[in-house]
């Protein structure tokens, strides 16, 4: 009995994974093709995100302060000396939540600037990030 149930689970899982890989993989390829063409026309992305667009007074934090916010439910990251609370943004990240979650509580500058080793972020992404700024590193 349990063997049959397990066999069913494994088959459903394999089909589900196959579906995700094929559907997502095709879209990913399409995105990559389109981003190559848009990159050539767009201006060179900045390496430094636009900071201080909000008028609210920003606090300064130590890296130790930031490291206390290392959970999915409470995720701060550091990018080029700016401290960002990305907790509520994680689920909206087009490249997948995981890409941000892995940096929670740490310095994500390199990850952000190199898009995890796959290029660089768009101006739109820089702007989205700027909204999340809560302070700077001491």
């Amino acid at each position: 009995m349990i063997k049959k149930v397990l066999a069913g689970c494994i088959i459903i899982y394999a089909l589900f994974m196959g579906f995700v890989v094929i559907k997502g993989g095709l879209k990913d390829q399409k995105n990559e093709n389109s981003s190559v063409s848009s990159n050539t026309s767009a201006s060179k992305p900045q390496t430094q995100p636009t900071t201080g667009t909000s008028s609210a007074a920003k606090k300064s934090y130590t890296l130790a302060d930031v490291s206390k916010h290392a959970a999915t439910s409470d995720c701060w990251i550091v990018i080029s000396s700016g401290v960002y609370d990305v907790t509520n943004y994680v689920d909206q990240h087009p490249g997948g939540a995981r890409e941000i979650l892995r940096y929670c509580g740490t310095d994500a500058t390199i990850g952000f600037n190199t898009k995890g080793g796959r290029g660089s972020h768009s101006n739109q992404a820089q702007a989205a990030l700027a909204d999340l700024l809560i302070g700077t590193i001491k």
Binding site: I2, K3, V5, L6, A7, C9, I10, Y13, F16, M17, V20, V21, K23, G24, G25, K27, D28, N31, A71, T72, S73, D91, Q92, H93, P94, G95, G96, A97, R98, E99, L101, R102, Y103, C104, G116, G117
Partner: protein
């Protein structure tokens, strides 16, 4: 006895549910709660499986016999795999809600080591469970598979502690529970698998006679030091030093009377490890770990019993028949294909001659077909003990119940690895 069996079941349920309850009580619920809970239950159960594989006497008692413990072990393994698949699917589904691409990126091998190890552990475990559950593999491959599967506790543990998004370290009661069960499992694993340690005393024996009868090796050994104390029907794990075989121990039923200080094993040649038994010589040393098992006439309330042996499943009954005290009335059916295969029939007849309350009937399936429940069914209150091929035990049990025998009056050795 039935209540005892349920005890093991409920302990297993508790092992799965405790981490879930601890997680729910001390972590704020979010959309990935179910993914976290399935993972924690799976890891907790995987640890429990490794602890069970240590063959600790307390767990044998909990499951009322090592055979039922192994059956539970098999079922829990299947449940662990289902939980892990659910964990992986739920997380993938979460990313799927963000975008197809993000789910795709989650599924493909990533550069994040703890995540990669988790995926690796999942694929290895699924492969091994499929291999051991759905394919008939040799015993030594089975043991190796279980060893590799046990090793996955280290990868899964690392994954659980360090993967991005893990909040295990922030929930102290849960962390304490998981570390405690995980560390116990790791200790059992290292002691058993890497050092070949045993939690049960081992005894040294020397082979004093070995002969081949049809396709069965009949081995008798005498104790080098203290003899093994057991009751009739129990089995032990045997390691033959001269065979090497990576120091593998194999479970065999003891066929000699419980009062006999000699140990006798009747091992059917199945073409795998049992083939190498032929290389054993008189004077070779055997290490015996045990005894294990609860399959015995002495553990059963009724003194009027029917025993049904199928093929090599006769071994526990050989020990029991020779150890039968007065007051017991036993009808035994020895089921084999033909007369040639009935290696132990003369021996059983000799015991029956000496004890008029012990009757033996031989059943040859080549001429008479499979033994039917109607043949063995007794109208008066009775207990049935069955040991033989799995299919025979299952069909007899079903048919006996259909004839009105209460389930709890049927006992069988579940030994099918």
């Amino acid at each position: 006895m039935i209540k005892q069996k349920w005890l093991g079941f409920w302990v297993s349920v508790a092992v799965a549910v405790i981490p879930a309850l601890l997680w729910v009580s001390f972590t704020p619920i979010r959309n990935d709660a179910l993914a976290k809970i399935t993972a924690l239950s799976a890891l907790s159960l995987l640890s429990f499986l490794i602890i069970l594989s240590g063959r600790l006497p307390i767990f044998e008692k909990l499951f009322y016999g090592l055979d039922t413990l192994y059956k539970a072990h098999k079922n829990i393994s299947a449940i662990v795999i289902m939980l892990i698949l659910a964990h992986s699917s739920l997380l993938t589904f979460k990313y799927l809600q963000i975008s197809d691409v993000s789910a795709f990126k989650f599924v493909i091998p990533s550069t994040e080591i703890p995540l990669l190890l988790g995926k690796f552990a999942l694929y290895i475990m699924v492969t091994l469970v499929v291999l051991t559950l759905y394919f008939k593999i040799k015993y030594q491959w089975f043991v190796l598979s279980m060893r590799v599967m046990g090793g996955m506790i280290f990868l899964s543990g690392y994954h659980a502690l360090f993967v991005a998004g893990s909040d295990l370290t922030q929930n102290v009661p849960l962390l304490i529970y998981m570390v405690a069960i995980g560390a116990s499992a790791s200790a059992v694993y290292v002691y058993k698998s890497l050092f070949h340690g045993s939690f049960v005393k081992t005894y040294s024996y020397k082979i004093i006679s070995i002969r081949k009868r049809h396709n069965v090796f009949d081995i008798v050994m005498s104790p080098v030091g203290k003899p093994l104390n057991r009751y009739a029907g129990q089995f032990a794990f045997v390691t033959f030093a001269s065979l090497g075989e990576g120091n593998e121990s194999h479970p065999f039923t003891i066929a000699s009377a419980s009062t006999d200080e000699h140990l006798r094993f009747c091992i059917k040649n199945l073409g795998d490890f049992t083939n190498s038994i032929g290389q054993l010589k008189v004077g070779d040393t055997a290490h015996i770990e045990g005894p294990y098992g609860y399959f015995s006439f002495s553990k059963i309330p009724h003194k009027k019993q029917t025993w049904i042996a199928g093929g090599i499943g006769v071994t526990p009954f050989l020990a029991m028949a020779q150890s039968l005290p007065t007051g017991y009335a036993v009808n035994m059916y020895y089921c084999v294909r033909n007369k040639q295969e009935a290696v132990f029939l003369d021996e059983l007849y000799a015991i029956a001659d000496a004890n008029h309350r012990f009757n033996v009937t031989a059943h040859f399936s080549d001429s008479a077909g499979q033994i039917s429940a109607k043949t063995i069914h007794s109208r008066s209150s009775n207990n049935y003990l069955i040991c033989g091929p799995q299919s025979m035990m299952e069909s007899l049990k079903t048919d006996l119940v259909a004839l009105g025998t209460p389930k709890q009056e049927i006992y069988y050795e579940e030994f099918a690895l």
